[in-house]
Symmetry: D2
Subunit: 361 residues, 4 copies
């Protein structure tokens, strides 16, 4: 519902761009898990603005405070509440918004839905809402790593029309991803992508991109048929991230052009278990993980806020020229990496806890 | 959870391919709505197997029985339960499945999850599970049409590498879609698609495809930030359909290659309301409908069941040659049209009821 | 919501008194459990009308059909759908109801809520709706017995002002309960209760009563703080049964008159575990089971349908004399025994599955 | 689930007794409602410890901070997050708890459930958890008052064996309730109750009591059959409050001793609507509000923490004498008044929003 996600590992986020803080309550975190602020902070640092010249100048330290659910560095099993104070607020940057709905922003739709909107415009559609997700995701990720050895790595696979070359899903690491500011492990492509982003910035424009994410070491059996298939939950989670327009798992849209004889993943026997020789399924069959790598792609549109003058109309329908102020990313995909990883971790953690109700087979 | 979907307009489906029946319980259908079996049957007829030479030979009349929630042709506001008996069952066709997990099927993952699987293999991953969805979706659709004038039309936009030409989203009708067996309103492309499907069938093979769906006349304001955005719910619903691998809304993956100045949808004043000049957003901004057409695409992989011999291993890891029996579609997309429409209707009906809690703004 | 209950062991009931059938879909039943119609039928038989001269004359065999989720006598892990056809319908008995809302019935409130009501009046408030609960509860009960050795026994502890003497919670059995038609294991009291019920019937009147229920062998640790405490869930489940007006656990209302020094349950060491010397807590502390017996009481009002003439008003506000027709129980508590047991089983099964997500401590 | 309650008006509480803060996230609060910290603070002040000599000496100002969801004194429709910092923590008071589970406390059950417990013992079973409920309830109450004119008043109707005389449900006010420290509007009984509480305190003991609550001006039609009946939701909410052991609505347990002819509430025509001459139903029929006053009673056991020495065993099963330290209420019912009101408001607000999906009938 709205600001909550998950059944057993359940989060409720709160906070707008320009209120006093953003955060999350996480219910269902297993007890007796070691947990410190640093376990959460590292992903917030990867998400925070002002990291490089490729992102917004808004500068927020985004320090997380653990309000509850942890004592002496151990989780209690009770709800963990996390708070990040908003600091570098400049609501004055948003003055014109009271008159003019920004194109492809949520100003108008929030007004249509609620009869009011926050001074920062689209309120909960702000990228700052994702802080709660990333904070909660860092905990989910820690749980999954400890309990199952699960690894989740996302990276930028395209910016504009520049695409990364082949990345080895079984070995790519976050260190490789973070080796450049774009967060593309193909260093050559990363260079071209950075140029695209800076060119867009110079043109007072913005540019879109695609993230790829791989989840390794998932146990078989995760995902609930019929409606809560693993891929359905992942699609839901990814399309709930601001600025996303598409999701595909395994062979995705390209797979729809294939024939079954070429698309099927035959089984083999490998390391003591039934494995698949190929993995066009993306690690899921019938909505349930099969023990292979789960990988998927998420499309992000170019940010709607651009410095260029736009011809549009105000709330009264009068034609106006809109010039954006405010500080915004010319491209969101580098900072979206920890968000995608976190959303994946939240989905998988929830499905893993649900599967525990069943006998291990 | 699992076999339920929705918050206020809520469905719970049941039934496997080879048990005594499949169906659905729908809670939250508005009361005093006229409802007869025919309102539901027409979409089941579009979904049922054996309609044309392009689909499986399994022949099921799939007659729906309304068990509860309706009296004298009027809904009571209580749960509506719908039942379709399974008739043309041939479990003997599935004999070999007890030894060999079919490639890219859910046989193995069901066993990994539950320690058992239905004689028909992937149990709830069977296409027959979608009967409950389509039956419920027909009711959702009727409600949306009466209350808001909403129209939902899906069609086949590609089969294999054959793509339909431009379709006019604002005028395309179901009659045009149903004018050919492929359900592609571009008659020329439909012919080529049909050839592709028959060629696959002749080769004992299968082929994938893409559906496009448009939803017209949605009121502005539907969709719940942050996690239950309209596009997130649609993505969830679509990726919960068997054989789907991808979802994109509005500009989708192609939009990620664009710049913001080209991608943004400027506002204009049209017919008494703020409208957008273009609609790359796909009718949603910040996860909330803006009154424009909502359109999206869904990728379907080629069916996993093929007549060709496949080299794979059995549950003991021994190499075997698998020859499929059973009756299956060489291509699912023509029959998936009412399924996609129904899932869209279910999502929109739920969000429409939720939005009613708010003042009209 | 509404017609669904539970998180992991989840039921959705459907059906009114006079439609073609009533039933339930149960999602989350563990797989590979032996299950046959008889496992369910025995509780339906205890619930069904026409069992004795103490209950309604409506005669329904109430045979259950398993529609899905079971194959070859084993559960598949998929939704189990159960259907009981309505047979002995006499809607003509309800003719006057279209003009006159029956006092203390749901005729008026259903109309206020939905703008319509079923020909049988309160629609889903009918006792027949509980068939789905009892059928689902029988499965929950079987699971709990197999997995934990849990025993659930309810009985009639008062009818009108006649109260049963002391019953031994640790040994009372269903056979003792069913030894008389009232279902009170105190045979002397049962005789007096039967007289009360027959006297009420002879006076064309009805009479209320109280059920007590004990749940033995619950593992410690069931119940989710803060809102889903075991007692909160039990209270919810019990007050959702038609005609209930109260719930108390352990010392209940009487406990509120006590002092802490007399009320506290001190710990002792018994049979290898920490136990309590007394059990005024009713087996729960902080909303979580502690391994002692869980016991509670449920108050049922006298049935609203009585043969006596009642002075009331019709829907137009005109004074009328109402004479009830139809066939109704003069006292519901004997037949409520399996309903209370089933609701308890459903709550406990759900909490037991949820607790499985945690390490065994 | 666990720490969340509600469907459309949904709260998620967090915080233990001795962590850095307690609070709540509330999702679904209608937008454009005036809201200031004082709207919330007044109920927290009625709940806070240290108000009188009848309650614990723990002194907490319990000042609420609105973190999100409100701007310029107006709600935005987004989640409202409220935080109250813990201040007067004395975890050293709880030192012995690591060795000895306190009788009738949640120390042992939390350990059985989570394998760990907070230094304050029963963690989330602490009364401080209720701060989030009261804060959220104050907002729900404001919404209900503005939108429907609903009034909710709870009071102490018994302490130990002292019972209040007849209170006029249709006129009793909070001012009358707060006129004495016990919060019983029968001033004479209040005096006797206060004596009981002080006597218990002097004896290093505690004492239980009962609250009565009336909700006036509810519109007809609230409550969702079958499982989410108004009384079922109220029972759930009330039994989720720490130290509660019972709930009854309308005639309650006493009603179970009556006959139908005496218990039924006949209809009359009054002030333009169908009303009931009596109200033994407690304002609900078939789980749905009928427009009459909803009233119910909640039983609270005597607090488990007493100063007297108790003979019990430690976690190793060794007999010990336990002497409680810490600061605790000898009787919780005076401070429970705003908690019961808040829980009622939360339930009603949720059901009111749900009912909005239906046409007004």
């Amino acid at each position: 519902m709205s600001s909550s996600l998950g059944t057993l590992f359940r989060i409720s986020t709160f906070g707008e761009s320009h209120c006093s803080g953003v955060g999350v309550v996480i219910d269902g975190v297993p007890s007796r898990m070691e947990l410190h602020a640093e376990d959460i902070q590292f992903q917030l640092d990867r998400r925070r603005p002002g990291q490089s010249k490729l992102s917004t100048e808004r500068d927020e330290a985004d320090r997380v405070e653990i309000l509850s659910g942890v004592e002496n560095g151990l989780t209690l099993g009770s709800p963990i509440s996390l708070l990040v104070r908003n600091k570098d607020q400049r609501p004055q940057d948003y003055g014109s918004m009271n008159q003019i709905p920004r194109p492809s922003h949520a100003d108008l739709t929030y007004r249509q839905k609620y009869g009011i909107h926050a001074s920062s415009g689209g309120g909960r559609s702000s990228a700052r809402e994702t802080i709660g997700r990333v904070a909660a995701g860092a905990i989910a990720e820690k749980f999954l790593a400890q309990e199952y050895g699960i690894e989740i790595v996302a990276w930028v696979s395209s910016v504009g029309e520049v695409e990364a070359g082949t990345i080895d899903f079984s070995s790519v690491t976050r260190a490789q991803v973070d080796a450049n500011e774009v967060r593309c492990p193909d260093q050559k492509a990363a260079q071209l992508m950075a140029e695209q982003i800076l060119a867009a910035r110079n043109d007072k424009d913005s540019i879109g991109g695609v993230l790829t994410c791989v989840c390794r070491n998932l146990p078989a059996g995760l995902g609930e048929p019929a409606f809560d298939r693993l891929e359905a939950q992942l699609a839901h989670a990814m399309l709930s991230i601001p600025a996303t327009k598409g999701f595909e798992i395994g062979s995705g849209f390209a797979g729809s052009a294939m024939r079954g004889s070429a698309h099927n993943d035959p089984y083999c026997f490998n390391k003591g278990r039934l494995a698949t020789l190929t993995n066009r399924s993306g690690g899921v069959q019938g909505g349930i993980s099969n023990g292979e790598e789960v990988y998927f792609r998420v499309a992000f549109k170019p940010p709607a806020t651009i410095g260029q003058t736009q011809k549009t109309v105000d709330y009264h329908g009068r034609e106006v020229l809109l010039e954006a102020k405010g500080r915004h990313d010319p491209c969101v995909v580098p900072r979206a990496v920890p968000i995608v990883e976190s959303m994946a971790a939240l989905v998988i953690a929830d499905l893993a806890l649900i599967q525990k109700m069943r006998q291990p087979y």
